[in-house]
């Protein structure tokens, strides 16, 4: 199993350009997440999905859109990139969010995409 994969690994954009980050998982997980990681800020949730065809906003959704057309894929789009979106982006997935009395299922992370917006 490949686990969680992310495409691309690196990207440099100019302000105003658009791009899509692709996340794929082969573990049949229901839940998928997009985070951004900035120095000193930890990981912040951008959007998440609790199943195919559903998406929801996280802590920092502005400037991003997402789609979950297939269970195994979760796409993150930047319509008009800004320098403030320079960051490392991580995708994660989990079997379900809530695992009853055992709390939440663990999240499996992809290797990350390092995005620079000039």
């Amino acid at each position: 199993n490949a686990g969680v994969t992310q495409t691309p690994k690196f990207r440099v954009l100019k302000t105003g350009q658009s791009m899509t980050l692709l996340c794929a998982q082969d573990m049949n997980h229901e839940y998928m997440y997009w985070y951004r990681q900035d120095p000193g800020m930890g990981l912040r949730l951008i959007h998440y999905s609790v199943g195919e065809g559903t998406t929801a906003k996280g802590e920092v959704p502005d400037g991003y859109n997402v789609s979950r057309l297939k269970k195994q894929n979760f796409l993150l789009g930047l319509e008009s990139a800004a320098p403030s979106q320079t960051s490392v982006y991580f995708c994660a997935s989990s079997y379900f969010g809530l695992a009853g009395e055992e709390g939440y299922n663990e999240q499996f992370f992809g290797p990350g995409t390092r995005l620079t917006v000039l």
Binding site: G42, L43, G97, E102, Y104, F108, F109
Partner: protein, 111 residues
């Protein structure tokens, strides 16, 4: 709103010394998970704590969840260079699905 502080932000230790990171909340937490991220890598799940007063051990790592479910700690005994990385807590408030990461504690181990 929920306030969770993860401290310290950085910790430099001599190899063989102990290390502890804390996540402290102003309100009751539903559960807490701990992750480790190696330099240049991605977060990897370590453990989850759900019950009040819970203590779990993984070799040299000891995880605790406070009696009031407002505090949690990760303690490493006799650190090794392989322990280098950033340790994050991931928490949710009681009655809330919203999961939030702490800002992390970056551990450096001096050989």
């Amino acid at each position: 709103g929920q306030q969770v502080m993860q401290i310290p932000q950085y910790q430099h230790v001599q190899e063989g010394e102990d290390f502890t990171t804390y996540c402290n909340s102003s309100t009751t937490l539903s559960n807490i998970q701990w992750y480790k991220q190696r330099p240049g890598g991605h977060p990897v799940f370590l453990i989850q704590l759900v019950k009040s007063g819970e203590v779990k051990k993984q070799k040299r790592l000891t995880f605790q969840f406070g009696e009031a479910k407002k505090n949690s700690s990760l303690h490493i005994t006799a650190t090794q260079t392989t322990d280098v990385g950033t340790y994050f807590c991931l928490y949710s408030g009681a009655g809330s699905y919203q999961l939030t990461f702490g800002k992390g504690t970056k551990l450096s181990v001096i050989p």
